[in-house]
Symmetry: D2
Subunit: 266 residues, 4 copies
């Protein structure tokens, strides 16, 4: 075998008969009964314990991401549980699979945008950077991540609260400033209401906490996994999946003919 | 259509342009900046806010479930991320799919066992109930859930800490008593070390908090989802998936002949 | 390290620069252009090529399993694709997760039932064995797998055709006889129409082909994966997922109050 | 509610008590015993039955995609089955989740490239179009899909056979010509061996059959799902997942210290 083997290493956790270590901490002594679930998530992501201020900001991000009502992902989890009630974990998994570019990814995109802009022009002002960022997205005919919302306008109620919490804890810095400036610049350029939305605020707060944009989608997944379990527990007590299925099947099968037009091929 | 339609209802969350409601609470006013991630998980599961004592016990359960080192689920998440780095959510989903009967389900089984035993014999003593429970499992040739551990013996370090936290918060009641009695009875009957393990302790604490065994696997899924995201963030910085794959592929392909014996069919 | 390492072996496939071997055959020379997709599936499952008779029976099984209209699994795949159109594979994966005990597993159960019955009483008659089998399931208060159907009664149209194809190819033997006898016995015992359904016929034909019941669910997964891809290609041209989602979300959010009664916890 | 409801329609399949229709055909009369599994896949994708020539080409594509040895996806399916042996379908699902941009997508990319090139310049010659295509990818610093292979060089053994089958059946037209020309142009421009690989050949053959590039990934998913079931059936008889897991866990946990350098955050 000519390939050089590389070692397999991980610092996430290991065990001895008497002790369990997680991120170098003793699980029984240092974590259980001491950390809340959000702090534990922070420890898993960063390898470090949050201080009280980081804890409050990070927990605020996480709780914002948990519940969004009857989303496609929640419906998917419920329908999957209908088919496989013995595998609640697979129902959550199926739901998470739908957390793709349509509904997620904008917190990630916002964090990346803010990180890149300050990295490229560390001496600029938020207003200068915002002009460049909005012009760039416009030239590429892409929408600016983290601004605008179908329902929540002219203001996303989560944004103000997230920024307030960050300010209270000393984490309202240049990323928050830039995110706000981008929202204002975009409103001026596009001539319509484009408030910073929750994902824009979360992207900015991740940057303030020093969390890379590469981890931002992971934070969203953590939150949504909790929310999907919540939907499945409601489904156990008040099932709706069978009704959603039957209505869909009945209507889809009402007509002899397929949808107009063909699909593929020759 | 002769089928009676049933309504589709959910109390998980809903939105107006100005406000977002989760479990009847105002997300911006009542939740963000106020609740930690574990309290939010409790709210999603139960529809109620935990008090400070419930919060500490429930968060202790959750943080125990997050990280178990390089499990099959963690390896699965990493290998899936290698193939689909654009879909971190699918890598977590793939990992969760493996949380089945081999590694999970015992917290659920322990909670169910404890719930059923007290429901059937509310006036018994823990020792009496334990004798019946252990005899039942023995007769069915099934292992008793929540006791014994391959590595952590004679004591699981998480169990003592979880029971201590529960006692400090006034949640060490008859379910904890029964779980302990079952461990002692099983050790006497089987003549070997069978300490209450972490899943037994968690099952007992879920019962103490009034959370049904049907939700216990969901709590484990919440915890593990956070842990799998942690592994993927480590994988981003310190990848091991390609090495695991290449070693396996090389060794599996070293020999011309398939494993001895056939597989299926005629 | 005291653990004995075990070797990692596989006979599924391997490559050299010039050639690719699958199940010991040369992919380019022996498989491409020669085998149809069903024969390839047979080769993957059994490690052997089917003869013409086995090929016809096995392909008949597979094509029966592909399409069942707008099932929960098909809806799940479509809703997941709505959220993550960049990951068609994850939409199929999400759909497959719902192929659990509610809708699947009966072909597996039927094959296992037939395999066990003949293994235990190789000298019996189908009628004798059927009496024992039906009595056993009745005593355990379990439903007999492979018989009865909500919609297709008094006859499942697939069953007669599958049994006909098997007879034409010389694969209508004692497993088919026993499956038929079980249907008749059950109708007599329960006093209602309980025809052998498609999963019962498929279970019997798997046994006739010498395929273990352990592989039967895998055959169903192969078929359904093809069907779910079909639904996603229809969804690309004629989308319905957004409409299913919006109707569900609108109705679920119409009311201020959650479903009557609580859910969990204290 | 002011939103206009849109109808929910599907032509995939529907049932009456006596009959089951798939794509407008009668399942029992027209499909079972008549179509092979590859023809059924073609019917699901296109809504039409293939003729004998289309059938041979399409089945050749499918069987090429089934088995690739011990890939990350196969390892994932096996490890997931280790954790959840009760849910074979979830193990296949987990495996499919890894079929992302790293290993898949090039058949799709090749088909899209060929479709676009001929659509934009229907009167050109393959050589002219190839020059433009290769220059475009080079300018965008992207690799040309469908050419080159780490192991199979200077020739991918599948390509010649796939093109031969297409030629025998009258489906070697301008898309095959263009794919070949692109391979030659790229070898000239980049000065190294860049043979048309199997995904390039498959992309070209999809175009020849009139199947849109949007469906190409779906064809790959169909094939791979069959292959993953095959790996799980081998795993049932000759398990390797536990060994892969234990070796990885042992090596990852050998050292007290995490990998050098931190991960995230402040």
């Amino acid at each position: 075998m000519s390939r050089n083997r590389r070692p397999i290493r991980s610092g996430m956790g290991r065990s001895t008969p008497e002790r369990i270590f997680v991120q170098g901490l003793d699980l029984a002594r240092d974590i259980i009964g001491t950390l809340n679930f959000g702090d534990m998530a922070y420890l898993e992501l960063t390898g470090r314990l949050p201080d009280a201020r980081q804890s409050r900001v990070f927990n605020a991000i996480l709780v914002t991401l948990v519940e969004h009502g009857m989303t496609p992902m929640a419906i998917v989890a419920r329908l999957t549980y209908l088919g496989a009630p013995e595998s609640l974990q697979s129902a959550v998994a199926a739901g998470l699979c739908g957390m793709g570019t349509t509904f997620a990814g904008t917190a990630e995109g916002a964090a990346r945008m803010l990180e890149s802009a300050w990295a490229a022009t560390p001496e600029g002002s938020p207003e200068e950077l915002a002009r460049g960022v909005v012009a760039d997205f416009r030239n590429r005919r892409q929408s600016v991540p983290g601004i605008g919302h179908n329902l929540h306008k002219p203001v996303d109620p989560r944004t103000g609260r997230l920024f307030q919490v960050a300010a209270e804890e000393g984490y309202s810095g240049r990323y928050v400033d830039l995110m706000r400036a981008i929202g204002q610049e975009a409103e001026a350029v596009y001539g319509k209401s484009l408030p910073v939305n929750a994902t824009g605020a979360i992207g900015a707060l991740c940057c303030e906490l020093g969390i890379s944009w590469r981890a931002a989608r992971g934070i969203a997944v953590m939150g949504r996994a909790v929310g999907l379990v919540g939907h499945l527990v409601e489904e156990q007590a008040h099932p709706v999946a069978a009704e959603i299925w039957l209505r869909t099947e009945e209507e889809a099968g009402e007509h002899d003919t397929p949808p107009a037009g063909g699909r593929q091929g020759g």
